[in-house]
């Protein structure tokens, strides 16, 4: 245990009579998936560096219900939603940040009707606000001359119209942002949404993530940047499939920023 991540929980905060500026919703992937945990930690390092008073729910967090809802199980979704809303409202959560577009979309759009009204932002938007307000500065040197392409997560882009925040952050890195032929509103899915992550694909002639990886490789990037743990998995698998692991890295925006800061 070399690094000292400071990760307060909402329960600890409450015990001290404090209310954090923002609640960091880690999500299931960010909590349990080995690759996504690295993204979670990168984001926490940045929060620590910028002295952002944040807290997580820790063991009181549970799946938002997104994959259940997209699979058609409205019962399970609403049970998860109502349990989470009870916990969040108990802590009087106002502002939530998350690195998972699926959690982001569900918390932001589908919880309000069920009694959970919060200001929900994606971690790329939050990081951008930290830079804009001067609470965080980056030296982009490390990425100078690197070509980075950004894969728009469907649940961040088309579903919620967040296209610019991740791109603004990449441009701050002194890197060259290259756009794939299908990007932003026309972006192609990585293949994981709608609960596909948890099942085998139907018979076809190709995997969606391989098709999307081909899109990315066309622009010959050094790094494929994502803003979603599921996209990250899918693109990483795509790169493996194309045997390009040596040339192309798949990284979350939070990792790029953390690396730029040598965190």
């Amino acid at each position: 245990m070399s690094e000292n991540l400071i990760v307060p929980t909402m329960a600890e905060m409450l015990a001290q009579g404090k209310q954090p500026e923002v609640l960091f919703w880690v999500g299931c992937a960010g909590s349990f998936d080995d690759r996504a945990k690295k993204i979670t930690k990168a984001f926490v390092r940045i929060l620590n560096r910028a002295n952002v008073p944040f807290a997580v729910l820790g063991t009181e967090e549970s799946c938002t219900g997104d994959p259940a809802k997209r699979a058609g199980n409205e019962f399970l979704f609403q049970m998860q939603a109502m349990m989470n809303i009870e916990v969040l409202n108990g802590y009087e959560a106002k502002k939530i940040v998350t690195a998972c577009p699926h959690c982001f979309n569900t918390l932001k759009n589908e919880y309000p009707e069920l009694g959970g009204k919060y200001e929900v932002i994606h971690h790329t938007e939050f990081l951008k606000s930290l830079l804009d307000t001067g609470r965080l500065t980056i030296e982009g040197g490390q990425f100078k001359g690197k070509k980075i392409t950004f894969h728009d997560p469907c649940y961040l882009g088309r579903a919620n119209n967040v296209y610019e925040a991740p791109r603004d952050l990449i441009s701050k890195l002194d890197a060259e942002l290259v756009e794939m032929k299908r990007s932003k509103v026309n972006g192609l899915c990585c293949g994981a949404g709608g609960a596909q992550m948890f099942k085998d694909a139907e018979p076809g002639n190709k995997e969606v993530n391989v098709l999307r990886t081909e899109d990315a490789l066309e622009v010959q990037p050094n790094i494929i940047a994502t803003g979603c743990p599921f996209c990250n998995t899918m693109m990483t698998d795509g790169i493996k499939n194309k045997e390009k692991e040596a040339d192309v890295k798949v990284m979350d925006i939070a990792e790029l920023i953390a690396n730029a800061q040598d965190l």
Partner: protein, 445 residues
Amino acid sequence: MSYLDNILFAIVLIIGFGYFFNNIKKIIRNINLGIDVDRKDNPSSRWKNMAMIALGQSKMVKRPIAGALHIVVYLGFIIINIELVEIIIDGLFGTHRIFAFLGTAYNVLIGSFEILAFLVLVAVTVFWIRRNIVRLKRFMNPEMKGFPKSDANYILYFEMVLMTLFLLMNASDLHLQNVPGGFSHFIQAGSFPISQFIEPLFNGMSNEFVMLLTEIFWWLHIVGILVFMNYLYFSKHLHILLAFPNTYFANLKPLGQFDNLEAVTTEVKMMMDPNADPFAAAPAPVEGELPAKFGASDIQDLNWVQLLNAYTCTECGRCTSSCPANQTGKKLSPRKIMMDTRDRMEEVGKNIDANKGVFIPDNKTLLNDYITPEELWACTSCNACVEECPVNISPLSIIMDMRRYLVMEQSAAPMPLNAMMTNIENNGAPWQFNQQDRLNWKNED
């Protein structure tokens, strides 16, 4: 034109419009088979959407070639319809170019109609080439075999014939206008930038014969229009009417926001309420009312906007060509979802017509008989189809409602999804990890 002509024309008009409105009534009746959903909020945003997307074609031009050609045909259609008013008045009262008193303005109008008619002919020809010679991929999907393929071509032929008749009518009319010393009731009016080149065709024919031709062209043109109008009901071409209400009533919420089923909310609240009596009897069902299903297995379970969507679909295939599942060879085609919904709706409608206004169960449903679970499970809910649709149709909402039925009514989810859902129920995560370990990452290297 003799007196008899005018009466005959009035009868043709009445029959044409009568049959048309009768079918429109059927469409409205079929759309109302769907369940209610409130789409009356935010009228200003809705009008704006209709103005921008339907009237302004803002989403059509995302694909520039099809978009530009479509705008030509669309403008031609709207503007040449102005001339229809004159054609109908002339037909009913035996007048000739009733609006000729407008003078120069009239010449400008008739001239622009001609140019538009010519441009429409060019555009429609290019459309036909794209469908039948170039054979663009999105026109070649399996669901486009048979009537849908012919339908698209019939529409193009209709437009070619109507525009040609319009120009021929003007050309023969111009020929008679130019008879030295005048002929019959043909006054000199209008400007004919295109048909002046067709006019020499009539040189050497007797004036009476040209007048007969003019009348034939006129009749074929107006009857052709009435037939085309009545063809709409059977065709994907319905979109020229329904694109407007469809964009008005389209979803205004963020694309990622799926609706929360209210019936489920009530039940879940009961389950989670510590004061609820677990032994309470369910409230007695209302007399004659079927218990509501969760999700949709047939068209009566969809909402009326989804059914309006199905009637509005023009089968252009932009949704399917942008669908990640379809592009990777899966069976799912968002366009087919819409076409199947419409086909099933028509089938149910005919059943109701045949049985004096009551639907007699026919042992068929939209699910399985039209749309298979394999198609439904291939969707990644990425919203590409919704984004791509030039008239804001949502195939995704139908897919989701049918998945809900499969899972909540039939427990027919694919096995891995059942495992995922069991994990969420038991550990609050889609994988088999213990909720108590949720913060372990903090202390791991």
